[in-house]
Subunit: 234 residues, 2 copies
């Protein structure tokens, strides 16, 4: 973790632990430099990071203020796979349906920019938050980049595992989504009827070096999954 | 427009006009300084801006590369109201259903942080892209901040008008969304049946000074509206 990320985490923790209400003014930059004993550029980076995360906003010539916190029960739609939740929310759990090593079909090949011969892990999981079924996730990972996965690993956060074991970090992603009517098979997984609505999200994740490593489709349960984006225009 | 935004626009224009394929390496920072005759910090800001927009990615120690462009026909979900489209896409048009000055109900008051006595403009529009109906939008603007709106103004971009006439810029927004089944009235507006699916997006927009000025709800047509987010982890 970089120093500015550490400081950003500390400031965020302070805001949430003290439950500072929206509009609360934080110390100015000099105050924060003094408080955290880091350089000006580290503080500036940390503040920009928190601004992008929707935790604070900076008003030029006026100060640094706390934003309204995301309402509970809404998934942060910009976090990886939509299942990363905030500090005091409970974490999601997974029921793993399968972990298979397969040859990719043409859609997977296109999205992962791989060839016919390349092996990919195919993982199917039901995702739960607070005991509620949020969605069915089907993911493809390139074996070339992530050499080993098994049921035990994918019961937990795959991204944490990948980061820790293969030093692969998410650089960016392309997320495409639309509302659909469920087919009979998917409906059954979600405990719904065919024809009922769902949000279908397809996402390709790239490493910081720009290489696609994960192509995932999540079908979200329309009653259980609700979403939030705390956007910033900068 | 700030200098870095101008330079970012120029680089983006170049990438799109020349249709540079994904993975194309751009000139390095020194090359770009030379090309655009601006300072290093302006180039760095412009590149970070393009990175956040999903146009490029920067690989440390390696270079600056073009990302895959958003597929056509998908709305950029992070842009204002979801109807801002890219350079060579066609722009959305609106059919205005009403523009009324009203007293806010309690939901609107909560979202806009205003009191009972404050007047708000209530605007209802059907939004079209490429001649297709994408959604029904219902927006509330605080008269205190945006003193005058009429039918002619809201047929076009309200945000451009507000920016030009009141010098109000979007600082940030809170976007909450979920999949719903349509009620009979909304279904009729969208040319669909009651009970059919839709994406319902509620968003509060704040000025750069942190004041809420617009609360909007958009119900998107599930067959016509599809979305994209080109996310970046930084």
């Amino acid at each position: 973790m970089l120093k500015y990320q550490y400081v950003a985490g500390k400031i965020k923790q302070l805001i949430y632990q003290q439950q500072l209400p929206k509009g609360t003014q934080l110390a100015n930059i000099d105050g924060l430099i003094n408080q955290y004993q880091v350089s000006r550029s580290t503080i500036v980076k940390a503040l920009n990071c928190l601004e992008r995360q929707g935790v604070i906003y900076q008003v030029q010539g006026s100060g640094i203020f706390v934003r309204e916190r995301k309402k509970r029960g809404y998934l942060n739609f910009l976090q990886s796979h939509g299942f990363t939740v905030d500090l005091d929310d409970t974490y999601g759990v997974s029921k793993v349906l399968n972990v298979d090593l397969i040859k990719p079909n043409s859609k997977v090949k296109d999205n992962l920019q791989c060839d016919d011969e390349e092996d990919v892990y195919f993982i199917k999981r039901l995702r739960y938050v607070d005991g509620k079924l949020y969605g069915l996730e089907q993911s493809y990972y390139r074996k070339k980049l992530i050499n080993y996965l098994n049921k035990e690993i994918v019961e937990n956060s795959i991204f944490s595992y990948i980061q820790d074991n293969y030093n692969i970090n998410i650089g960016f992603s392309d997320k495409y989504f639309q509302v659909i009517k469920l087919d009979a098979e998917t409906a059954q997984y979600l405990g719904l009827q065919a024809g009922e609505p769902a949000l279908c999200v397809e996402e390709v994740f790239y490493t910081t070096a720009g290489e696609p490593f994960d192509f995932s489709t999540i079908i979200y349960h329309y009653e259980n999954a609700r979403f939030c984006i705390q956007n910033h225009s900068k």
